[in-house]
Symmetry: C2
Subunit: 246 residues, 2 copies
């Protein structure tokens, strides 16, 4: 990992862009973070829209994390943003578009083709980023994961023991195999569901919440569409991390 730029935001948060091999990323640390006072870390998940497009929302969540005493970091997903096109993902997206425009139901094979390769490729990248981030003297533990893609968050919660709590956004299509995998999740979970999410299947989100094996899990459903998450929902997620990452 090497840092490629650095700026201090108006609230004192240090924002640094970095490269991890071919993967770009951003790290935000609160002003007070130092080698003698290392801070917990929240990994900021997001959909495959690219970091540039997601930046306004991500920096908002990072500022909240910093205000609560946490570092936050994110990386570009495979095939997104400035990373090389990924034909597997392009093809799956084209298939999904075609089916949706034809008004046909989105079948399991479409969902699997869209999400499973992404999970397979992105999860080891998140783990590599975690290795690099935790080697920085100003970053300690524990570690949380916040955001979508919910299947990536679910897989990470299963395979990555350094992640000790997660806020998951139920805002993407979920392959059937993830419902089985969800049973293996045991960390505390806080799941956000937009009740009228036009891109999502509400019943699938409720079924996935039901499937999670965690003994501590909370579902917060708010009225509104995909991008209409209210401020209060973000506040509740922040409260959840304050309880679990300190």
């Amino acid at each position: 990992m090497h840092f490629t730029s650095e700026q201090r935001l108006d609230d004192g948060v240090l924002e640094r862009t970095f490269s991890l091999g071919e993967i770009p990323g951003i790290l935000w640390t609160p002003e007070a973070a130092s080698a003698s006072a290392p801070v917990p870390l929240i990994l900021l998940g997001h959909p495959t829209l690219g970091l540039h497009k997601m930046y306004p929302r991500l920096v908002g969540r990072a500022r909240q994390a910093a205000a609560d005493g946490f570092a936050a970091a994110t990386i570009e997903l495979p095939g997104s943003g400035d990373r090389p096109r990924w034909p597997v993902l392009e093809q799956a997206r084209a298939d999904l578009r075609r089916v949706m425009q034809a008004g046909e139901p989105v079948g399991d094979e479409i969902v699997d083709a869209l999400v499973l390769p992404l999970v397979e490729k992105a999860v080891p990248e998140w783990q590599a980023a975690l290795d690099a981030l935790l080697s920085l003297p100003e970053i300690g533990g524990p570690v949380g994961y916040a955001g979508g893609v919910i299947s990536i968050g679910t897989r990470l919660a299963v395979v990555e023991p350094r992640i000790s709590a997660a806020v998951l956004f139920a805002g993407s299509l979920v392959p059937r195999v993830m419902f089985e995998e969800a049973r293996e999740v045991t960390i505390p979970l806080h799941v956000l569901l937009q009740w009228d999410d036009e891109r999502n299947d509400r019943q699938a989100a409720l079924d996935l919440f039901d499937a999670f094996g965690s003994t501590e899990k909370t579902l917060h459903a708010n009225l509104g569409g995909h991008t209409g998450v209210p401020q209060s929902a973000g506040d509740a997620g922040a409260q959840f991390f304050k309880r679990h990452l300190r």
Copy 2:
């Protein structure tokens, strides 16, 4: 309304019991409440277990309300606690017990017989209590309703314009007619659902949440049974009132 006892709790909260005709009730006011600084009011709903049995949970919620600057009040439901037995309610409860012990499904007529007479009788009593409470110089507005029975809270939200926000506990059987009535609710709602509530029908609770006409509504589902509402869920309800009753 006349006060029948008065004590100051250790956190300065003034607890007064009162009678409103034949109906006993309790009012809690924060230490700072006065005629020159009247406070908003939260009506504390509860199931038909009687105020004595519910007191520990109610006083906990009242202390939280007082810490946030709100008065809180509750009244005994018809046929409960020290109020005269109510044959209609006794019969409906006996019918429900018989059906459940026989392992039979709880039919609509059982649910209607148990809940609808209670709603019909309790809602005007809550409104009479509200008249009396709002006539006290130390109580101002706005007014919130918090708790079960969810059908009582729903009816109150429809017919009582002085109630401007509600935290509803989805922990009781819901007559079909209430799903229609729910569409008429327009105030901000915060609904608590215990995901594994053994006395409740999860799907009915989700359907009722979906039916509410409010443009601002949030569902918080937590893992656990009927009485296992976690502290964090109570905190989120308190945050909701802080946003809507100030």
